[in-house]
Amino acid sequence: MEIDVRGPRFSAALTFVVLSVAYLTESLWILAFQVAVFAVAALAGLRWSPYGNLFRLLKRRLDWGPPPATEPSAGPRFSQLMGLLFSGGGLVAILADQPTLGWALVLIVVGLSGLLAATGLCVGCHVHALGSRLLAREARS
């Protein structure tokens, strides 16, 4: 499946804001909301991503025009999985009375989503591409 390259950047900007607010207010509910958003996108697929659907709705309503480019969804979906692991791990750590570790994990997601929103650089996508190349090489040899 090919997706509009602006979608992941839009979602990353929202993620950045939501997790920054969660961090500053120490709100576990907001953090849990973002973990759920990651879980839907990573496990059910980007078609179901809440932020992705908001992006598509706004795109239609505000007439943002055709995608400047498209990209395969595998990399961004893997990135959502990374987001789920880090923010979900953070939530579990905070609930297990390890708030420093937990919020540090959340801040990693804040940094990576901010990077994607600001520059289009998707670290998770590069990790995914590198990983699948290494796996393909293993399979060949």
Binding site: S20, E26, P72, T119
Partner: protein, 141 residues
């Protein structure tokens, strides 16, 4: 409330990483690294002339954009060949040149020595300048 300074620090590190990435991405770097003709032939690349070798990956939208830049750039340098090969099919070159990203573009001289390298989608003007100066590129890295 969590310490807002930690959030600011994360944002600052993110901004630095973004600036670093922008400075490297798509820029041509001069180098001198011998591949040898045999790995080039194994990768299906033409030898005996200057060559722009693009290492690609499956499902890589940026690789297609890079290919368009290469095709555009060599229109003004018809003696330069363009060849794209999947990283998996050019394992020796990817290994010896420590290629981590797709696309990575190598400018290879007729003797099989890499004279310049671009990670990411090359900037057309940068690559054109490199091709125009290729006779005088330094041999030492």
């Amino acid at each position: 409330m969590n310490d807002p300074l930690a959030l600011l620090a994360v944002i600052a590190v993110t901004a630095l990483a973004a600036a670093w990435w922008r400075a490297l991405d798509g820029k041509a770097h001069v180098r001198a690294d011998e591949i040898g003709l045999e790995p080039l032939r194994a990768a299906g690349a033409p030898t005996g002339a200057w060559l722009l070798l693009e290492l690609t990956a499956p499902h890589c939208a940026a690789c297609l954009r890079a290919r368009r830049v290469l095709d555009e750039v060599v229109q003004r340098s018809p003696d330069v060949a363009v060849h794209a090969v999947d990283i998996a099919d050019a394992g020796d070159i990817a290994h010896s040149q420590r290629v981590l990203r797709a696309p990575t573009v190598l400018l290879v001289d007729p003797g099989g020595v890499v004279r310049a390298r671009v990670a990411g989608v090359p900037s057309a003007s940068d690559l054109t300048r490199m091709l125009e100066q290729r006779g005088s590129l330094p041999m030492a890295s």
